[in-house]
Symmetry: C2
Subunit: 475 residues, 2 copies
C-alpha cells in the first residue's frame, strides 16, 4: 500500500496542479510562499520547495528571484477573449507572517516603552469596579463557575446588547445577535462563511495586519483599496475595482477610527458605500471595534444603521472599550445569522457563561456609558499629547492627521525614512512601534509607522518620542 503512494512532494505538487487547473490561482498570480505551503501541509520547507521545483519543470509555475513562485501564464493563443487592459491585480499575501514575526515577538521582549500594540494601558480600565462585579455575580450565583452553557443570563445579555444597538441607531432583534470571542472571531466566522480559498476580499490599505493574516490563513487574496486618514476608504477606487477588477466576495471595513489611520468615514460616504455595495451585490463586514472611543460628543453611526437590504455584517466588541481580558464581542449578521451561529458553535461552542453574566450586569446597570466616557476623555488627552510631541520632534516633512477617536496615530515620515530600519534601532534603545510594512501586502508604507497612544502621558514617553524623532532624522 505504502509503496503505491507518491512521495510527499509529489502529492503537494499534484494538489497545487489541481488548484491551478480549477482556476484558484489565475495565470500570473503569486502562489503561497514556500514557508506557507510547508505550514499548510505540515511538511518541512525542503519538501515544499521540491513540490514547486517539480511544477517548475512541468512549466506550470515560474520562479521569480526573491519574489517567490507564480502561476505560469498560458501559452499565447491558448485562451481566447482575454482582456489586454491591465486590471488591478489582487495582492498575494506571501510571507506576511514571516515579516511580522519580529513584531509579534515584541511583547515578549524587555522593551521599556511599548508603543506597537493597539491597546490601552490596563490601568485605564475600571478594574476595581469590574472585580467587585465579578465577586458579586459569584456571590449571587456561585454555580456560574460550573455552568457549561449560558442559561437565562444569555437572554439578559442579548436584551442588553439589543438595547445598546438601539443607542447606535440599529434596530436588531435580540435573537439576531451572536456573542463571540471578540471581533477577531466575528470576522473570521464571516470570512469563512462568505468565501472559499482563492477568493478575493476587498480591504482598506493601510490595513490592520491581523486582518491580512486572517486572509492569508484562509487562502484568500486581499484587494487593497486606498484609505485616506481624513475620510477613510476611497469609494472611487472601490467602485473602479468592482467594475474592472477580479470578482470580490466581500469588503472588510473599519469606518470609525480605522486601524491604523484613525480615519472616520463621513455619514454621506457611508450611505454611498452602501449604495455601491447594493449595486454590486457586495457583502460588507463592518468592524466597529473602535466606534465607542469617539472624542466628539456624538458616537459615529455604524454603516449597519443605514443597511436596509441586509448587506452589512456588523461586528462589535468590548475588548477596547470595557474589559480587554473578558475577550467578548458580538455580531449582527441578518440573513447570515443562522449559518454563522452554527459555524460559531462548531468552532468554539460558546463564550464563558460567567463573563457573559458579568457583562450583562454592567450593561443593565447603565454603567457602561460612564466607563466609556472616562476612557474616551483619557484617550483623547493622550492622543493629543503624543501628536504634539511627534509634530515637535519628528523630521520636517512628517505628516500626521489627528484622529477624532481611538488610540492610534498614523505617522507618515519623509519618503526616505525606512521605518523597518528605524524599528531595529529603536528596539535597541528599548522603544517599539508598529512599522508601516506590516500594514499592506505590498511595499507601500515603508516610510510610515503606527504609534499606540494607549498609555498615560509621562516624561518617559516624551523622551521616547524625542528619541524616535532623532533616530528618524539620521536615517
Amino acid at each position: 500500500m505504502a509503496s503505491d503512494t507518491p512521495p510527499l512532494y509529489r502529492q503537494i505538487a499534484d494538489a497545487i496542479a489541481r488548484q491551478l487547473a480549477a482556476g484558484e490561482y489565475p495565470p500570473g498570480s503569486r502562489l503561497p510562499s514556500v514557508r506557507a505551503l510547508a505550514a499548510r501541509h505540515g511538511v518541512n520547507t525542503l519538501t515544499a520547495l521540491a513540490a514547486y521545483r517539480h511544477l517548475e519543470r512541468e512549466q506550470r509555475v515560474v520562479a521569480r528571484p526573491r519574489a517567490g513562485y507564480y502561476a505560469a501564464l498560458p501559452v499565447a493563443g491558448s485562451r481566447g477573449g482575454e482582456s489586454s487592459v491591465p486590471l488591478p491585480s489582487p495582492a498575494a499575501l506571501v510571507d506576511l507572517s514571516r515579516r511580522m514575526s519580529t513584531l509579534l515577538q515584541l511583547a515578549d521582549e524587555r522593551i521599556a516603552v511599548q508603543l506597537h500594540m493597539a491597546e490601552a494601558a490596563p490601568a485605564l480600565y475600571p478594574f476595581a469596579e469590574l472585580g467587585r462585579r465579578l465577586q458579586f455575580a459569584l456571590a449571587r450565583q456561585p454555580e456560574l463557575i460550573g455552568a457549561q452553557v449560558p442559561g437565562p443570563d444569555q437572554r439578559r445579555l442579548m436584551a442588553a446588547l439589543a438595547a445598546l444597538a438601539v443607542e447606535r441607531g440599529l434596530a436588531l432583534p435580540a435573537d439576531g445577535i451572536l456573542v463571540t470571542h471578540g471581533v477577531t472571531e466575528s470576522i473570521s466566522l464571516a470570512l469563512r462563511h462568505l468565501t472559499r480559498p482563492g477568493d478575493t476580499v476587498a480591504v482598506e490599505t493601510p490595513v490592520y495586519f491581523g486582518l491580512l493574516q486572517q486572509l492569508e490563513g484562509l487562502g484568500l487574496k486581499a484587494l487593497e483599496i486606498p484609505c485616506a486618514p481624513a475620510t477613510g476608504l476611497s469609494l472611487e477606487a472601490l467602485e473602479f475595482a468592482l467594475r474592472h477588477g477580479p470578482a470580490v466576495r466581500c469588503l472588510v471595513t473599519v469606518p470609525s477610527f480605522q486601524n491604523p489611520t484613525g480615519a472616520l468615514m463621513p455619514d454621506e460616504q457611508r450611505r454611498r458605500l452602501l449604495a455601491i455595495a447594493r449595486r454590486h451585490g457586495l457583502t460588507v463586514i463592518e468592524d466597529d471595534v473602535f466606534g465607542d472611543l469617539h472624542f466628539g460628543a456624538q458616537r459615529p453611526t455604524p454603516l449597519k444603521a443605514w443597511d436596509r437590504d441586509g448587506d452589512v455584517i456588523y461586528c462589535a466588541s468590548f475588548t477596547k472599550s470595557f474589559a480587554p481580558s473578558f475577550r467578548l464581542g458580538w455580531m449582527a449578521a441578518g440573513r447570515h445569522h443562522a449559518a454563522l451561529s452554527l459555524l460559531c458553535a462548531s468552532s468554539t461552542l460558546v463564550c464563558s457563561p460567567l463573563l457573559q453574566s458579568v457583562l450583562a450586569d454592567v450593561l443593565e446597570s447603565g454603567d457602561y456609558a460612564r466607563i466609556r466616557q472616562r476612557l474616551r476623555q483619557q484617550l483623547q488627552a493622550q492622543v493629543q499629547a503624543f501628536a504634539d510631541a511627534i509634530e515637535h520632534h519628528f523630521p520636517r516633512g512628517t505628516r500626521l492627521l489627528r484622529p477624532h477617536g481611538g488610540l492610534l496615530l498614523w505617522v507618515e515620515c519623509p519618503e526616505s525614512c525606512d521605518t523597518t530600519r528605524l524599528l531595529q534601532r529603536a528596539l535597541a534603545e528599548g522603544i517599539s512601534f508598529a512599522p508601516g510594512m506590516a500594514f499592506s501586502a505590498e511595499p507601500r508604507f515603508g516610510h510610515c509607522l503606527r504609534i499606540s497612544c494607549g498609555q498615560p502621558w509621562t516624561p518617559v514617553l516624551e523622551a521616547a518620542i524625542a528619541r524616535l524623532g532623532k533616530l528618524a532624522r539620521t536615517l
Copy 2:
C-alpha cells in the same frame, strides 16, 4: 453591470459545477442538502433548489426522492480503471443540523429533568474555592481585567500544563502547548489545518454529534468506524477502511470514556492504533476531554504518550473536570504547532488573560488533583445509581455497559424501540435525553439513547428513569 451578472441560482449552480469538475464531490457522492446549500450562500431554499434543478437539467446531478441530490455518475466508459468492487462509502452529513435542532433547543425549554447534555451539575464544581481564587488574582493583579494579551501569566500556565502533561506520560516542551477555548476549538483548528472541503475524516460510530456538525460545517465527509462500548474503536474496521476505502485525511478519536459509549480503549490497542496510523500516514486527533474523569485509581494514558512519530494531535480541556465556565482547553500538536498557533491567532486571537491566570494559580497550587478526585468519586456514584435504575426499569433486552469513567451511559434498547419517538413522549412529561439518531449520519442507532449522569442521584431522578423505562416498554 448588474444586468451582466447571472441570476443568483446560476451563480450557485456554477460554483457547484466547478466543485464537481475539481473532484470535490466524486461521482455518486451526496451533495449538500438544499438547506445547507442555502445557508452556505446566504440565500433562501427556493434559490438553492433552483440551482440543483438547473444542474439536474444539465445531468450533472441526480435527485433521489427523500434523499437529496447526488453527483451524477460518469457516462460508462468515460473514465477507465474504476474498481467494480463496492467500497465502504463515506457518509454524507446531510441534514444532521436540521435533525439536531430539537435537541439543541432542549436547554431552552422548561424540562424538569434534563439528561441530554454531557455535563455535570454546576454544584459538583468547587465554585466557592474558584470564586475566592478569582478574587485573590484580582486583588494581587487588579490590572488583569485590562490585560488584552497574556503576559508572564501565560508562561506560568504553559509550565504548569507541561507539568500536568508529564503526569500523563507526555513529555512536551512548554512552547509546544497551545491554549484554546476548549476541545471544540482545538479540534476545529486541527481539522481546518489538516483538511480541505470534500476530504474524508474517520470518526467513531456512534460519535458525539458536535463532531458531526463540525465536519458538516467544514464540508467534510465522515467515515464512521464502529466503536464498541467495551474496547472502543474497531481497529480491524479502521484498517480495512484505510486499505480499501476512500483516502482518509485524519482520524478523530476519544480513546478514554468515549462520547457517547463511554468506551475505554485498552493500552495494547492504543499502541496498535498508532502502528496503523504510522503505516498509513494517518494523523490522529486525540480528544482527551473525559480522561481526567477515571473511576479507577489509574488515569488512562493518552495515545500521545506512545506517539514517537508526531502522528497525534493531542486535545485536552478543563471544561468537564475543573471549571466549565472558564472554557479553557489546550493542545499539543508537535510539528503542526506553529501552523495551528497562527490559525488560532487569526480565529480567536487569545483566551482571557484573567481566566488563564487563575487556572495557572490552581495548577501551581496542586489543588487540581484534589478537585478532580472529589469529582470523579461523585460521578462514579452517580453513574452507578443511574445504571442500576436503568437495568431495573428498562424493558427486557436493553443492553448497557458500565463505563470506567466519564458521566455518560449509552443504552441500547430492544431494536423495536424508536428512541426519537420515545424522546417526544418523554419531553411531554418533562424528561430529556439524547436520542441515538443524533450520534451518526446514518440511521444506525435509532434504538439507542445517551443518558447524562451529571446530576446527584435523587428520588426525582429515580422516578424519571422509571417513567422512561415504562414509556420504552409501550413503544
